[in-house]
């Protein structure tokens, strides 16, 4: 019987990139194994839900939960792991703010199912759709039921810490692993509950080495339409919508340094209540025009304003979803 503290990791509505980021900590993963007893980690080891259900409440010291809450299975496991864990970390952008799966909140769930099962990419002449339960001779089969919206973990259960990023940078994960191990050994203290961990204390712009002058632009352009992109000048000043001004630091401004605009995967910076609103302010401040017609012409350069400002944060924003998602009457 081991006396090591217990560790769990779960994926809900996510892509699996967070798991890869954890493995990308290289030999640090051995520290996890040396210091923790991994009791539940579906991507890495075999464990059943009923094994978790059989555990004592609060018996898992640390749970990294990645993925948003898309269906009732996600919700069940989120509540279960909350009950069994002392420290529950919303790990990665999906769990923190919905991330790319959260963009599904722009469409009613019926449309999403229809798109997946009966459009160009799917040959479905008999319009066969999945059922949530189905009778077979051996009994009744169930699949998880989609909910109306993708919810970040915090909207479903109480969360102790938030670790944003799509995925969180491996050096940040390694630092957090080190911290938790120190806490276990009594050499360090945990940050206050509700903190963001594994992040910087400013915005991506602060970490970005590109030169910033007085920003004024006459045109917004998609990055592929800008040739050549000046490697040393702020991308926003070149008319490329860059999400850096609203985005939490911590990644080391990797994308702008590689010549791509920040897409905002580290989520809202400290003190930003609504990520999209902050970006609206940032983009508006660079527009060099004072008449409605001219401003509108410049804004036409952003083809999908909602997707641009809420790319990662839609499910965690103040409005949470397209209004039509709530309005749809459920079919039966």
């Amino acid at each position: 019987m081991t006396t090591k503290p217990k560790f769990a990791m779960y994926w809900a509505a996510s892509c699996g990139g967070c798991e890869i980021a954890v493995l990308n900590t290289h030999e640090k993963i051995l520290d996890v194994d040396a210091n923790f007893d991994v009791v539940f980690w579906p991507v890495a080891m075999d464990a059943k839900y009923h094994d978790v259900e059989a555990m004592e409440d609060g018996s898992i010291l640390l749970t990294l939960f990645n993925g948003g809450i898309r269906n009732d299975e996600n919700e069940h496991i989120a509540k279960l792991l909350r009950q069994k864990s002392k420290i529950l970390v919303a790990f990665g952008s999906c769990a923190c703010e919905g991330c790319i799966p959260g963009l599904a909140n722009l469409s009613p769930v019926g449309d999403i199912v229809h798109t997946a099962f009966n459009t160009l990419t799917t040959d479905n002449p008999n319009e066969i759709y999945p059922r949530t339960s189905y009778d077979v001779p051996e009994g009744e089969l169930h699949i998880p039921t989609l909910s109306r919206v993708v919810r970040p973990l915090e909207q479903v259960v109480d969360v102790d810490y938030f670790m944003p990023g799509c995925p969180p940078e491996s050096h940040q994960i390694a630092a957090v692993i080190d911290l938790v191990i120190k806490v276990v050994k009594g050499e360090a203290e945990l940050p206050p509950k509700g903190s963001m961990i594994g992040v910087g204390d400013s915005t991506v712009c602060d970490e970005c080495p590109r030169a910033r002058n007085v920003k004024f632009i006459k045109e917004f352009k998609r990055i592929q339409d800008v040739a050549p992109v000046d490697p040393n000048l702020c991308l926003l000043e070149q008319g490329i919508p860059c999400n850096g001004p609203a985005t939490c630091s911590g990644c080391g401004a990797r994308c702008p340094q590689a010549g791509a605009q920040c897409i905002g995967c580290y989520g809202p910076a400290e003190g930003v209540m609504d990520y999209g609103a902050r970006l609206i302010t940032a983009f508006s401040s660079v527009i060099d025009a004072n008449t409605p017609a001219e401003i509108d012409r410049i804004l036409d350069g952003i083809p999908d304003p909602t997707g641009q400002v809420y790319r990662f944060n839609l499910a965690g924003s103040l409005l949470k979803a397209n209004r039509n998602v709530w309005k749809v009457v459920s079919g039966k």
């Binding site: 722009l106 999945p130 989609l146 983009f283 527009i287 401003i295 103040l318 409005l319 039966k332």
Partner: protein, 165 residues
């Protein structure tokens, strides 16, 4: 609730130097206008963070009125132009969120334009009344009351057509 009995809740953001005084003037001159608007005074329309508008809408407001000095007359030189740009981009984002952009309105009113302020308020209240309640808050909360089963929406016709396994 039909649109005749529906009383819209409007949050109005006013500029300390012009539109707030316009509303003051409307009041002291005893002009009549729709009582639906709750005014919040800012130092300048340039202080208007779009977060304020989104917060108002998500917390129960049916419409938001943003007011400021006429272009070229800003007390802080040019901040009302920033308000204008934010307003135009915010409206585009609201369209993507399924909210009628007409629920947010920008009005310029100088300190002398009490009558204009009163008239614009009344007009806006009637416009929002026509749009009906926004009810975002209530619609979001519905999510928690519903059993999750009803959320998996599949057209009924597709069940009839289904081929048994």
């Amino acid at each position: 609730m039909d649109n005749q009995t529906f009383e819209p809740t409007i949050i109005g953001f006013t500029c300390n130097w012009c539109s707030y005084r316009a509303s003051d003037l409307a009041g002291t001159a005893r002009m009549k206008y729709a009582p639906n608007v709750r005014l919040i005074r800012l130092m300048c329309s340039g202080r208007l963070d779009p977060t304020f508008v989104l917060r108002a809408l998500s917390d129960g407001a049916d419409g938001v009125m943003i007011t400021g000095c006429h272009p070229g007359e800003c007390h802080y030189i040019e901040q009302n132009y920033k308000a204008l740009r934010r307003y135009l981009l915010l409206k585009r984002v609201l369209v993507g969120m399924g909210i009628e952009p007409e629920r947010v309105k920008l009005v310029w009113a100088s300190a002398a334009e009490g009558a204009k302020f009163a008239a614009e308020t009344t007009t806006f209240v009637e416009e929002v009344r026509k749009l009906g309640p926004l009810n975002l808050n209530a619609e979001c909360k519905m999510r928690n009351d519903e059993s999750e089963n009803s959320a998996f929406i599949i057209p009924h016709s597709s069940f009839e057509k289904e081929v048994p396994a």
